[in-house]
């Protein structure tokens, strides 16, 4: 087989795979600009005949989806900030500071990776009820404010920070916390960006725990509001597609903008996993 033919077949398959992969997202976007009922016509239409923002108007004006958008943004932002801060603190301590029982404690935390979060959800709900956090943003936020994944990711990165650098700072008389904040944190910027991207997206997309802990519509995050909406508006294909776009587009845009960090994080997490 000639090299040129081989290359043509290879790229043909790659493009076909790409079209199949993107088609559901393309159709979601296209149908969201259609008039009600247009997505169910014969023969089928791939593109809206006369693009309209009607569905989006209905979502934001009548169905108040803006509120869920706001809820999602609040929850994802606070989780991101705190999990990056707490993860970087713990990750640095595990990687670079000497203290008794360090490795045993880290090993214990690592077991968290294979424990499905659902196992703790029932008692967690009862705990949240005791703390009066059910049906509040904090109920959705608090359990994710520090994650094992974040600690692990930062620790892997910090292991490569040279000890001499820290010793030099100590000789200059810098305190331990000051070294963390002024010497180590600036070095760790790329991994912190990775972690932030990761946490924002996974919190934005999270469904089961918000569904459990947020019981009234005023606090619903987007996925919960959308699932709720899809029960009531089964026939409104175009409306639901607009709702899906509103939910997916922010994370998709963030991914395209920050994919360098995101994919780097995945690779770092997998190499020594």
């Amino acid at each position: 087989m000639s090299r040129r033919l081989e290359s043509a077949i290879l790229h043909g398959v790659l493009i076909a795979g790409g079209v199949i992969t993107l088609f559901p997202l393309f159709w979601m976007l296209s149908a969201s600009f259609m008039h009600s009922g247009e997505a169910a016509t014969f023969p089928p239409r791939l593109l809206p005949q006369a693009p309209t923002l009607d569905q989006y108007r209905q979502l934001f004006v009548r169905l108040n989806l803006g509120r869920a958008f706001f809820s999602s943004a609040v929850v994802a932002s606070i989780v991101t900030i705190s999990s990056v801060l707490f993860g970087s603190m713990a990750g640095y301590a595990f990687a670079k500071l000497r203290f008794g029982g360090r490795d045993r404690l880290f090993g214990l935390l690592l077991t968290a990776v294979v424990i499905p979060p659902q196992v703790g959800m029932l008692p967690l709900f009862l705990l949240m009820k005791k703390l009066h956090l059910v049906n509040s943003y904090w109920g959705a936020i608090v359990p994710s404010m520090a994650t094992m994944f974040g600690i692990f990711l930062v620790r892997q990165f910090m292991l490569s920070v040279p000890h001499d650098l820290l010793e030099a700072a100590r000789l200059d008389g810098a305190g331990e916390l000051r070294i963390y904040w002024s010497v180590v944190m600036p070095l760790a910027r790329p991994i912190l960006a990775t972690l932030a991207t990761f946490m924002f997206m996974s919190t934005w997309n999270d469904f089961m725990w918000p569904l459990i802990v947020l019981s009234d519509q005023a606090h619903y995050t987007l996925p919960v509001a959308l699932a709720n909406l899809s029960g009531e508006h089964v026939q409104d294909i175009e409306l639901m597609m607009a709702g899906a776009v509103v939910t997916v587009l922010p994370v998709l845009a963030l991914f395209v903008a920050l994919q360098r960090y995101y994919i780097a994080g995945l690779m770092a997490g997998s190499v020594k996993g």
Binding site: T21, M28, F86, L97, A112, G175, F255, S270
Partner: protein
């Protein structure tokens, strides 16, 4: 105490408290809860709760809906898992091939479904699977192929959900495979070529063995994720038709948060834990044998 360990204590405290109070303690409490008859009445007054030892587990083993959920979940994982691995390895080989141009572009395209919101794309797929208006059946009709009611047919509903899960997830494992492929030294392929190995033989005798640890990692990650399936059936089928898409986590959610039988639901959750632990151990054993 040295300055260093004092600093460590301070730096670890917030993460340790949050993980301890909101993750590890609830997990341990979850097991304890599964030994009680905690229900709606206990929710009003804890004193209504009694210790019932393994009663919940006995009831579970005797209930047909549990076994249905168990089998459905295993079916989803045992078909969806390997399918995800095969599709993502194929994608990784294609994207990583020496002749491929625009590698980063294709990588991004294949990865895009991973970052989408599961609930949102589950709704999109629900309409793609629509028996009359869905794009899938319209394409099949154009090709004069049968056009089944994907989510309404008990034999096809879980398969349709598996296809969604593979579409959503293969980009993630593809990235891990690409990393694994890039770590294989080029000399191994050269040596194989000198020995007269063709493309397939190179794949069989160099790529696959060298990817060994990657297969383990991917297998465990995919298994852990797949056994927790919940949102897809919740949004697309509500467990139907004929309970063919009820899953273990869905059963836990319904029993625990709809009927408030939290003791019983906790035993379901603990079974899930055992299932995931078993999947991890099996993967490791299989890897050791090779």
């Amino acid at each position: 105490m040295t300055a260093e360990s004092r600093a460590a204590l301070l730096l670890l405290a917030p993460a340790a408290v949050i993980l301890g109070v909101f993750f590890f303690a609830p997990v341990v409490a979850g097991f304890a809860l599964s030994l009680t008859d905690f229900d709606l009445y206990s929710l009003g007054d804890v004193h209504h709760t009694r210790l019932v030892a393994l009663h919940n587990y006995r009831e579970l083993v005797g209930s047909s809906i549990f076994w249905t959920a168990f089998v459905n979940t295993l079916y989803f994982a045992l078909v969806g898992g390997p399918l995800t691995v095969v599709v993502s390895l194929a994608a990784a080989l294609l994207v990583n091939a020496r002749l491929t141009k625009y590698k980063a572009f294709f990588r991004t395209v294949y990865f895009a479904p991973v970052v989408t919101t599961l609930v949102a794309v589950a709704i999109v797929f629900k309409y793609i699977y629509h028996p009359r208006f869905g794009m899938l059946n319209r394409a099949l009709a154009a090709l004069h192929l049968p056009t089944p009611d994907w989510l309404g047919n008990p034999h096809l509903a879980m398969l349709a959900i598996i296809i969604l899960a593979v579409w959503k997830g293969f980009g993630y494992t593809m990235i891990i495979f690409i990393t694994g492929l890039q770590n294989i030294p080029e000399e191994l392929y050269e040596a194989a070529r000198i020995d007269g190995a063709g493309k397939w033989q190179q794949f069989r005798h160099v790529t696959v063995p060298m990817l060994g640890p990657t297969f383990l990692f991917v297998g465990v990650v995919v298994a852990i994720g797949q056994l927790q399936i919940f949102a897809e059936p919740y949004v697309m089928t509500q467990g139907g038709p004929l309970n063919k898409t009820v899953t273990v986590v869905m059963l836990m959610y319904q029993q625990g948060f709809k009927f408030w039988r939290m003791g019983y639901a906790a035993s379901v959750a603990f079974i899930l834990f055992l299932l995931i632990g078993a999947a991890t151990v099996v993967q490791m054993k299989m890897q050791e044998r090779r």
